[in-house]
């Protein structure tokens, strides 16, 4: 996806994704399909089926659903994962100091740290601005696709605010860039 300022996830960076689990999963898709490993910490609610439909290679996906409530254990868990796993998603809340230490560790280990909430010191923050579904009506049809606007903001090379329109999910559950202007949203 050409959404991030450098064209994709960059090793060593920290990216926070707010307000959309499917956007978070879509970011894992191409990297895991190319042979990278991913781990998701503290998100017992992650939809693995949706992940597979978005293109995540789930056999290279490890889940740590409940890293515990002790902040020290959470930090050690995430740090251990950053040592060996290419992409680490953190869903547990962490203190700002811990967040900075983990961001530094990701940079040092050349891993990508992703967070499902805002993260102090993140290089890029992605946010879903608008999302309109099509496919369902008054008791008819089935959810087919959602047209969303993603906004990226960040520091350094990423300081320029950028946006992109995506189909997330596109029909069939994958993700695509939405090229033409949104058609009239059906039956809403």
């Amino acid at each position: 996806m050409d959404l991030l300022p450098w064209g994709g996830l960059r090793r060593g960076s920290t990216v926070s994704v707010r307000g959309s689990t499917s956007l978070l999963l879509a970011l894992l898709a191409s990297a895991t399909a190319e042979g990278c490993w991913a781990a998701v910490v503290g998100m017992p609610q992650i939809g693995v089926l949706a992940a597979a439909e978005l293109g995540v290679a789930v056999h290279r996906l490890a889940l740590v659903p409940r890293p515990g409530t002790d902040p020290a254990t959470v930090e050690r868990t995430v740090a251990a994962l950053l040592d060996g796993v290419d992409l680490v998603v953190v869903g547990s809340p962490v203190a700002p100091n811990t967040a900075r230490r983990l961001t530094a560790r990701a940079r040092q280990r050349r891993a990508v740290l992703l967070s499902s909430a805002s993260w102090p010191g993140s290089d890029v923050e992605l946010r879903l601005e608008r999302g309109t579904w099509s496919g369902v009506g008054e008791g008819a049809g089935v959810l087919r696709e959602r047209r969303v606007s993603v906004h990226a903001s960040g520091r350094g090379a990423a300081a320029r605010v950028r946006g992109a329109d995506l189909l997330l999910p596109a029909p069939g559950g994958s993700v695509r860039i939405a090229h033409h202007a949104p058609a009239a949203v059906e039956a809403v």
Binding site: L63, R130, W133, G137, G172
Partner: protein, 528 residues
Amino acid sequence: MAVRTLVLWCRDWPVVAASAAAELPPHVPAAVVASGEVVACSATARAAGVRAGTRTRSAQACCPELAVFDDDPERDARLFEPVAAAVEELAPGIEVVRPGLVAVPARGPVGYFGGAAAAAEELVDHVAARAGVEAQVGVADGLFTATLAAHRGLVVEPGGSAAWLAPLDVRELDQPAERRAGVRGRTELVDLLRRLGLRSLGDFAAVPERDVATRFGAAAVVAHRLAGGLEQRPPVRREVPADLVVTREFDPPVERVDAAAFASRGAAERLHAVLAERGLACTRLGVHARTANGEELHRVWRCAEPLTPRGIADRVRWQLDGWLGGATPTAGIDRVRLVPEEVVGSDALQLPLWTGAGQDSREAAERAARALVHVQGLLGPRGVVTPVLGGGRGPAERVRLVPWGDERAPAADPGQPWPGQLPAPSPATVPPAPEPAAVLDATGADVGVTGRHDLTAVPVALVVGARRRDVLAWAGPWPVDERWWDPEHAHRAARVQVLAAGGPGELEQIAYLLVRRGGRWAVEGVYD
């Protein structure tokens, strides 16, 4: 228990092939070189002091009349096909391990010829008569022992592998010919073992397997099994699913090797991808070809290590080269089928002790495995899980979470029909336990589902937790009659997709997957 195996081995095969291709008489000293080093030499060259590993220049210095050939795996494979065919005439079910080495299950020929020694003699004579090649035969339990026996032209008694291997030099684990065939060498391991004072295979085999695993890594465990006369891989093999065959049709039929090889490369990559998708890797590859005249050609390649896409493509090219270069087919090939005859779980792949070029993904797997085991140490074995997709109706029941390191078997067959299964997209958020909700109609009354799978009223509001949201649209219900045959566990449920209006600070539309069970609504997923 290792399978009793008969191995036919042609000494110095690359040189024999090169000399035959150049029509060089066998007594002329010859050597095959790759990147300035001798990789194989003939007996006469050896007598003059040439060895594998000698620099080409010094080899020519000690043996001035040495004929030098470039290394060419395709030539080796092409000229080996008649040998393989000759063996097959007497012993069906052959597997080419590499050009120069064929393995056969020993039971057939040994029974037929009335003894291992007699079978060996028959095979050597037959290969000499049909292919004009000198060969040696060894019979033993397991491929590794049988190969070493073939080097010596011996028959090792059933069950006697470990005792026979024990006095042999530990350097036998590192066969230069295997290294050339793309198998990771064991040079460093052998070197290390010798420095530790483990000089014979018996010494190494006497070390407990657990100690080998913890100190030297998984690759050494394989070597350790070999040294103890066991099969290379533990006998836990996967059944090969029938749909993993990759077929490539050629129209018009191809007659030139390079064209066939080029066209087969895509098939090789596809096979690898199909296997990798299922977390498998191929250790025995069947190459089938059909000629325009309807002849079926078939050969199995066996590999010590799971095949890479490159490894598959090489073997297909070698085999096609052998068929098209020889006199076997009467017309061009119009179809190639690649059949994985034996597969292993790719996560059971030996995580390497050392890594070379082109092993990035395996290296990534090893690093990830170490990190995940580390976390299991912190949180307990069930703290790290991997998802396996299987059959089922709801988004949660189609996913099974397996503790890291356990076998990744799906809970239910994904291939079966699952009536009531919702089409993609699936919800990206699936609460571990469905969250109670209420669906209300215009009067504020509960909306139910009738026995005919209709909603009892038009839904107007959705209440989740303390939040009330307006319903914009909905779809369904999709009925689910689960376990209707079992009165205790039977339950009827229905699923509905609801599109609700978001509040301040939220997206304007939020899509939910709701389920109604026992007269109550619950949120089963959110399409966020």
